[in-house]
Amino acid sequence: MLNMSQKNIIFAANLRYTLMKEARLKTLEQTDNVSLYSICFDGKAVSEYEAFVQKFKDDATLNTDYKKIILAIEKIVAVGAFERFFRPEGKISDHVAALSIDSRKLRLYCLRISDQILIVGNGGIKDTQTYEESTELSGYVMDLQAFDKMLAEAQKDGSVTIEKNVITGIEGKVFQLS
């Protein structure tokens, strides 16, 4: 049974999700083996991961944790987005995962599509025991869950295909949030 505070958090996260209408996928980094993507919501040029970077790059108190995340993403693009590099979040049926970093302060959420494809989302300061207790963090997880569904639908209707380390059909494609 959810208490009032938990209900408010879910309401706020749902509201954030309802207000967003569309999303695009942006290629950020690539090697011969791995591609790194992120999501741009509502016509924004800056993706969710880039927004995360801009949010924390000048934060002196979180600098160590921020740099661990930058280096971890760099390493993943170099060697592979292996399951052991993430902690499952969200539901069993989705691809949502948190980057496994040795930090008690920062969290970054991702969609681990395969060992070769990673879609990085946004993240923030972890000041609650679980992400569900944080309006901000649960919003980021819900964003990724929503996009994961849209990506699955686009694969089903054939407008997007995923092969090895490439997602094709994303050039100019706008994913409509239902």
Partner: protein, 95 residues
């Protein structure tokens, strides 16, 4: 471990983030990552789990999990403990 390849970065924001890391920070991160990967692959080869490693080292499972998280800073004391527990050299020093 797979061979690392050249990374193409298309985002100026991420390029700036990568450029902000000093060579020392990157080298330390890589060293800790290599240690963590060596431990992971040793466990795989021996058919052991993190729980087994926790039992053998006398550490809590939550602490052992941190050894496998990105950016964990290993101490010589911890490496020695793991080497003894697994009976495998985790790092060797050039003579």
């Amino acid at each position: 471990m797979k061979k690392e390849t050249t990374i193409k970065i298309y985002s100026p924001i991420l390029q700036e983030a990568h450029d902000s890391i000093t060579p020392q920070e990157r080298a330390a991160f890589d060293l800790n990552f290599s240690i963590s990967e060596k431990i992971y692959h040793t466990l795989q080869e021996k058919g052991m789990s993190k729980r087994d490693l926790a039992r053998l080292t006398g550490k809590k499972e939550s602490e052992v999990s941190r050894w496998f998280a990105f950016g964990h800073n290993f101490t010589c004391k911890t490496i020695a403990l793991i080497q003894l527990a697994l009976d495998v050299p985790i790092i060797t020093v050039a003579q």
